[in-house]
């Protein structure tokens, strides 16, 4: 069993009390073992520390990276414009003045000309009847 195996076994709490005692004794007398042990512990500490920090950064970042305050404002403004637009269109549905070339406009123009034609023909018929009556009299 090499130094790293011993260190791993100790750090994972898999040593018997007797082995622990021997390991601690060796740590005090074997400089290389002590150095390696301290390094392994520092790596463990740094990974743990980094994991914790990454967790925090990611939880804060999820909001910040995806939606910075400025982007929120832009989106809010866009939504407001959309809502106002829909509201206005619902309040004034298909007004002929706002939609000058709509089908309704064409239809109303067509009706107007037909009405005028009808009026003219009626007047013409009345006037022709009047003239006939006048002749008969």
């Amino acid at each position: 069993m090499n130094n790293q195996d011993l260190i791993d076994k100790y750090l994972q709490g898999k040593m018997s009390p007797r082995e622990v005692e021997k390991f601690k004794h060796d740590l005090h007398h074997d400089r290389e073992l002590y150095e390696q042990y301290k390094f392994t512990r520092s790596v463990r500490h740094e990974i743990r520390d980094r994991n914790e920090k990454l967790r925090s950064v990611k939880s804060w970042g999820r909001k910040s990276f995806n939606s910075s305050p400025l982007r929120v404002v832009y989106w809010a403004a866009a939504c407001m414009v959309l809502v106002i637009g829909i509201g206005v269109s619902l309040l004034h549905p298909y007004s002929s003045s706002t939609l000058p070339h709509s089908d309704f406009q064409i239809m109303s123009d067509k009706n107007k000309s037909e009405t005028l034609q009808l009026r003219d023909s009626t007047i013409h018929q009345i006037s022709s009847k009047d003239s006939l009556l006048h002749k008969l009299n």
């Binding site: 400089r31 150095e35 463990r44 740094e46 920090k53 990611k58 305050p69």
Partner: protein, 217 residues
């Protein structure tokens, strides 16, 4: 100003708050740095949005660690740097300084990382293990005053994904090699996994020593 009602903390308040492990101040420092980074990063760091996010994350964690290890600290309401001199710039400019270094590392894409086959630690006649250049491996990290933690932290941050996973599962989560093998299905044998773990650790140690030497120079 976007949110005029939001309280803006001074640099000294932020640094002191983070040092005292106040989560609200940690978040406030994060927001402070993020807003600055978000506004400037696009023109400074030519990388994809995802890579910029990674640079930001690594930079912020380094800043956080630097505060916790008193590389920058507050005394009488003034922010000081490690050399004991008052801070000339702001925390955000310090942050961007770290970010630039992270970006350079990203661009180089060759981290101070010793390739597997370059590791030749051997026992010499004096019975001590020696590094690749023949010098004895120093015990720098035994000295608590020595900033060896910094290089270990940096090397851990640059660990390849697979190495990080193995070391995290084994040393932090305390998983056995059998359980790790179930999780990381690429390993065909327990011995292969154990060898990979030890190689990762050796490489990490070697890289930390190399980085520490360059820093000292």
């Amino acid at each position: 100003m976007i949110f005029p009602l939001r309280h803006k903390f001074s640099d000294a308040e932020l640094v002191e708050g983070v040092f005292c492990k106040k989560s609200t101040m940690q978040k406030a420092l994060f927001d402070h740095c993020w807003q600055y980074f978000d506004a400037h990063a696009e023109n400074v760091f030519f990388a994809s949005a995802t890579d910029r996010d990674d640079i930001f994350q690594n930079t912020f964690i380094t800043l956080w660690q630097n505060i916790e290890h008193r590389k920058i600290y507050v005394e009488n309401g003034v922010v000081f740097s490690q050399d004991g001199l008052p801070f000339r710039g702001t925390v955000t400019s310090y942050f961007m300084g770290i970010a630039r270094l992270k970006y350079m590392e990203f661009v180089r894409s060759t981290v101070n990382w010793v390739a597997l086959d370059e590791v030749h630690v051997y026992s010499s006649t004096d019975g001590m293990k020696h590094s690749v250049d023949g010098e004895p491996i120093t015990n720098e990290w035994l000295d608590t005053e020595n900033p060896m933690w910094e290089v270990v932290a940096e090397c851990v941050a640059e660990l390849p994904e697979r190495c990080y996973q193995i070391l995290d599962l084994f040393y932090v989560q305390g998983k056995s090699l059998d359980l790790i093998m179930d999780k990381l299905t690429t390993f065909t044998s327990k011995d292969a996994l154990k060898t990979a773990k030890n190689k990762c650790l050796t490489r990490l140690r070697q890289s930390a020593i190399e980085l520490y030497k360059t820093r000292k120079i």
